[in-house]
């Protein structure tokens, strides 16, 4: 995307490349992050999240799949990034679902309150006193 403006390498990266002798990736597989993302996605799947925040949950699932694939391919840095993104996507999905549920409850309560108010307004002001 921004390739034309990113032509340079930072010093540590270059030094690491030099010192590692061009080794493709020495990072370990991000097992912990992948597990965390999977757990968060599974939690979301047990609730109404798949219905209330389907897009975010789908994005989390897609990234988890890609994280696993990257780990298989030996690109552990990409696997780590994708696992972290999948985890935060799953968290966002859960939070949006919770918010949607709260919003629904709010709406229902406000409707019932409105009905109650209308009923209260229909009550005679004071039936005991309108007999003169």
């Amino acid at each position: 995307m921004q390739a034309s403006t990113r032509g340079s390498f930072s010093l540590p990266t270059l030094a690491a490349l030099v010192l590692a002798g061009g080794c493709a990736s020495s990072a370990p597989k991000p097992v912990e992050q992948i597990t965390q993302a999977r757990t968060l996605i599974e939690q979301a799947e047990r609730t109404d999240t798949h219905r209330l925040a389907a897009a975010d949950l789908e994005q989390a699932r897609g990234k988890l799949g890609r994280a696993e694939a990257a780990a298989e391919d030996g690109d552990q840095e990409a696997a780590l990034r994708l696992a972290r993104e999948a985890a935060v996507d799953a968290e966002v999905a859960q939070a949006k679902a919770s918010a949607a549920q709260a919003g629904k409850a709010q709406k229902e309560l406000e409707q019932s309150l409105q009905a109650l108010r209308e009923e209260a307004d229909r009550m005679p002001v004071n039936p005991g006193l309108d007999r003169s």
Partner: protein, 292 residues
């Protein structure tokens, strides 16, 4: 030695790279906008303070990564994480806002219910008060009635009326009539005046005017005499302004003696006019009419 030269060269290249304008990442701009919006939300400290701290930290990392010319994918990744942490904070705030509104709506609901209940209570109190007022008014009315009845009773007692099973009865004795005549003696005037005044004051009361005789002489004569004496009283009342609808006139003849006809004293007692009073509403006692 060649190694050192290489490192120097690399360092120089790195310095040159750092001196260039840092790359601009729209992902980072977007994340910054989101983090700023989150930071400005009034509910952020209450509902999403952890998310704000995390998002700011991650955004800072992204900016540092740009400044240090880290791999673009790392910068984009960190910007993504920061933006999503801001999204997370916003979702938490949205939920908190709904929960707050729920709390308010519940409080309002309780208030409305309470108001309705106290309205009901007020209505019930008003009903009770109005029932009490009615009861008091009824009591007052019945007290007034009792007082009126008592006044009437006292007035009748002044007339020397007697309580009998036929109701209050006033007897105008023989001495008030000329012998064998239906004209009232002047001495009867005081009694008739009192009777007229009583009837004027107690405007619902009605009277029966009954003439009675002793058994001396023919029965038909006695019947006629009893009627004439009763009528004489009625005429005196009419002369004093008492409406004829207030009284009935009856000749009872000799059939209802109050004493023995064998003695002069007894006969004198039997020659009489009786005034039978109704109650204040114009009703006579069930046994007021001895003839049935």
């Amino acid at each position: 030695m060649r190694y050192a030269t290489l490192i120097v060269g690399v360092t120089l290249a790195g310095l040159v790279a750092c001196a260039t304008t840092p790359a601009r990442f729209p992902e980072v701009e977007e994340a910054r906008t989101k983090v700023q919006a989150l930071a400005q939300d009034p509910l952020v400290q209450q509902a999403a303070s952890r998310e704000l701290v995390a998002a700011r930290g991650t955004l800072q990392q992204a900016e540092t990564a740009i400044a240090e010319n880290e791999a673009p994918e790392d910068v984009v990744h960190l910007a993504y994480l920061a933006a999503r942490q801001a999204d997370l904070g916003m979702a938490r705030i949205e939920e908190a806002r709904s929960r707050e509104a729920i709390g308010q709506a519940e409080a309002e609901r309780n208030r409305v219910l309470l108001a309705a209940r106290s309205q009901e209570a007020a209505t019930a109190r008003a009903r009770a008060a109005s029932a009490e007022q009615e009861a008091a008014a009824a009591q007052l009315a019945s007290a007034a009635q009792a007082e009126e009845a008592e006044a009437a009773r006292r007035a009748l007692a002044e007339l020397q009326a007697k309580q009998t099973e036929r109701g209050m009865v006033l007897t105008l004795g023989d001495v008030l009539f000329d012998t064998d005549a239906a004209t009232l003696k002047p001495g009867a005037a005081l009694t008739i005046d009192r009777l007229a005044k009583f009837l004027a004051d107690s405007d619902e009361t009605k009277i029966l005017i009954e003439g009675h005789t002793d058994s001396t002489g023919p029965e038909s004569y006695n019947q006629e005499l009893s009627e004439r004496r009763a009528l004489a009283v009625a005429n005196e009342l009419r002369a004093r302004g008492i409406d004829a609808t207030r009284f009935s006139v009856l000749g009872r003849g000799e059939g209802y003696p109050v004493a023995a006809n064998e003695t002069a004293a007894g006969r004198q007692q039997n020659r009489r006019v009786e005034i039978v009073f109704s109650d204040q509403t114009g009703n006579f006692s069930a046994s007021a009419d001895p003839a049935g």
